[in-house]
């Protein structure tokens, strides 16, 4: 049954009603085990980020020096850190900031990148050459270093992290959008819009943009995984989320110095939490990519 629809979509992309297509993609998504697993993991952490603070047994910030560095027990499931703070509560609440900062950075990257990609792909020529060269140069600096450089200059704050990661990821999205736009602009509906004498902004944003949403969505979910990676890494090296937040990367960086003393519980659970979120988001990205790959 999907064969006929799929074929029609390939022949005349604009002909299939958009709502049908998105319903088909949604159906595909919720049948994919990869997507559902990832979605479940992400949903769990989003739940923790929103409601965790009301559910955890201890205040994640209050210290209890007398009970510092206790191994996991029935009282403290994941043990306590060097200030006697409950690790379990901190791990649950630690999802909060990274799950705001990373998606915000991804959103910024998507908006800026899509705009750049639309303009360069649509106008081409000198603008494209100049912007593309600059973006190549930006991409030649490993992301973490670019972030480091920029954050040293503009100072450490959540907004700074969002802006820096957002802007350093924008070229990747721009590249994807640009190549999609270059294909779209050769199609008849764009020529028709030109014949109607629509202006460039209208053609770009009203005509072309809706048709390049799938690659933008796929690239954005992939970037979200990288953004979480980047925020966690920046927090770990001290340039991201700042104390006293129970953020995972930050907790690892404050506790790993004592790892040789055998206090494994102060870092292991945070590491596993980061790992699960990153894997979850990547599974979602994989699922989305799969659902969009054959329309």
């Amino acid at each position: 049954m999907t064969m006929a629809t799929a074929k029609a979509t390939v022949d005349r992309p604009a002909a299939t009603p958009r709502r049908d297509r998105s319903r088909m993609i949604l159906r595909k998504l919720f049948r994919s085990g990869v997507f559902l697993t990832g979605f479940g993991i992400v949903l769990f952490w989003v739940f923790c980020a929103i409601f965790g603070i009301y559910l955890v047994p201890y205040d994640p910030l209050s210290s209890d020096i007398l009970n510092a560095l206790q191994p996991p027990s029935a009282v403290h499931w994941f043990g306590t850190d060097q200030l006697g703070r409950d690790v379990f509560s901190r791990v649950i609440v630690g999802s909060r900031e990274i799950l705001v900062v990373a998606p915000a950075a991804t959103l910024l990257a998507t908006v800026v990148g899509s705009a750049l990609g639309l303009c360069t792909g649509y106008f081409r020529g000198v603008l494209d050459d100049v912007v593309s060269r600059i973006m190549e140069a930006v991409m030649a600096i490993p992301g973490v270093l670019l972030a480091l450089l920029a954050i040293v200059s503009i100072g450490t704050s959540k907004v700074a992290v969002i802006v820096v990661i957002g802007l350093s990821f924008a070229p990747n999205i721009a590249r994807t959008v640009r190549s999609a736009v270059m294909q779209e602009r050769e199609l008849d509906y764009v020529a028709a819009a030109h014949l109607r004498r629509e202006n460039a902004a209208y053609v770009m944003f009203v005509e072309i943009l809706p048709n390049v949403i799938p690659p933008i969505l796929v690239e954005a979910t992939v970037r979200l995984g990288y953004a979480i990676f980047a925020v966690a890494t920046l927090s770990f090296i001290g340039f991201g989320i700042q104390p006293p937040s129970p953020d995972w990367g930050l907790s690892i960086s404050t506790n790993y110095g004592m790892i040789n003393g055998g206090f494994w519980w102060t870092v292991l659970f945070d590491a596993l939490a980061i790992a699960s979120v990153v894997i979850g988001v990547n599974l979602v990205a994989d699922g989305v990519q799969g659902a969009f790959s054959e329309r």
């Binding site: 930006v138 490993p142 090296i237 790993y256």
Partner: protein, 328 residues
């Protein structure tokens, strides 16, 4: 597609020239970006160095002696010209030329990167080839999914878990990369195994995936079928026909990953306290040692640009089809 190029040699040298010019443009832009971002620092450098209570005249004098009161373009030109001649500026923190620090750190990082590469390249290619030969069987699934999972994890996360397992619980490997003074090559390598593991895990997935897809494509091709049909033994088909073609794209991936690798070094070197270029950049950033920071990042950018350039050139030499419009 593109215009048909006349002769191979001519096309390849044109390609090399164009690619060289492109790298040069990238480098100039890169240095401008690095320099530009370095200028946005709040407050004057003289004030930063002398502290909030210093006399304003002393601050101005220091700014003048550091050449910071000149127009930006002049400062940039000066900086670049110095860099080209091998003068990377003076560190604020150590009050000494930056270059020896950068050179030594780069050497250390290259050691670490070399250990990682020597282990990961053969392992990942073997992994990718084995996965492709067992396409869609459990081994393929394990290699592909496992590799990708490791690729997406931040290095400090895998690093911490590896330290816990091999350093703290099993006590097989030292958890710091600082080997005793005068240690021989083997001791150094022994100390570098654990620090290189997070890098290896990230790279394994990328390289194995490229090798796998290259293999699958090559196995599926007409020339492989011809080779099989003309009666060559399977082993010979794989070695002589499939592998050679399959591993071409892998070369590019390996080289582009060097750039990533150097970025990943910041984290790994911080985690293992290893005096490489990553830790140098990190320390410079913490101490607002701008000349050191800029030099470190620019050197990393240069290394990255060169490795991608070499990768592209290798690819062009190995694969003459590049002249048919693959450039843009």
């Amino acid at each position: 597609m593109g215009r048909r190029a006349p002769f191979g040699v001519f096309a390849i040298s044109a390609f090399i020239l164009k690619r060289l010019a492109l790298s040069l443009v990238t480098l100039v832009l890169l240095s401008a970006i690095v320099f530009g971002v370095g200028q946005v620092l709040p407050g004057s450098v003289g004030r930063l160095l002398l502290g909030p209570f210093a006399d304003q005249r002393a601050v101005d004098a220091l700014n003048t002696s550091l050449g910071l009161d000149r127009p930006l373009l002049v400062q940039y030109g000066d900086w670049i010209w110095g860099f080209v001649q091998g003068d990377m500026g003076r560190s604020y923190m150590y009050e000494a030329p930056v270059r020896p620090f950068v050179v030594e750190a780069l050497g250390n990082s290259l050691k670490l990167a070399a250990v990682a590469f020597v282990i990961v390249v053969p392992a990942a290619i073997a992994g990718g080839v084995i996965a492709a030969l067992n396409y869609n069987r459990p081994i393929d699934r394990i290699i592909s999914i496992g590799g990708l999972t490791m690729t997406v994890l931040p290095e400090f996360v895998t690093g911490i878990i590896l330290i816990l397992i091999f350093g703290v619980w099993l006590k097989w490997l030292p958890i710091s990369a600082a080997w005793p003074d005068g240690a021989g090559a083997f001791t150094q390598i022994y100390y570098l195994i654990l620090p290189s593991m997070p890098l290896i895990l990230v790279l394994f997935g990328y390289i194995a995936r490229m090798a796998r897809s290259g293999m699958i494509e090559a196995l599926d091709s007409d020339w492989t079928r011809t080779a099989v049909l003309k009666g060559l033994p399977w082993r010979l088909v794989i070695w002589r026909h499939v592998l050679r073609n399959a591993l071409l794209p892998t070369i590019t991936v390996i080289a582009t990953q060097t750039g990533y690798l150097i970025g990943g070094l910041v984290v790994v070197e911080t985690l293992f306290r290893y005096q490489g270029i990553g830790l140098l950049v990190f320390t410079a950033a913490k101490g607002k040692d701008i000349p050191m920071l800029l030099a470190g990042i620019l050197v990393i950018g240069i290394v990255y640009t060169f490795t991608t350039l070499i990768a592209d050139l290798l690819y062009a030499v190995f694969n003459p089809r590049i002249r048919l419009g693959a450039l843009s």
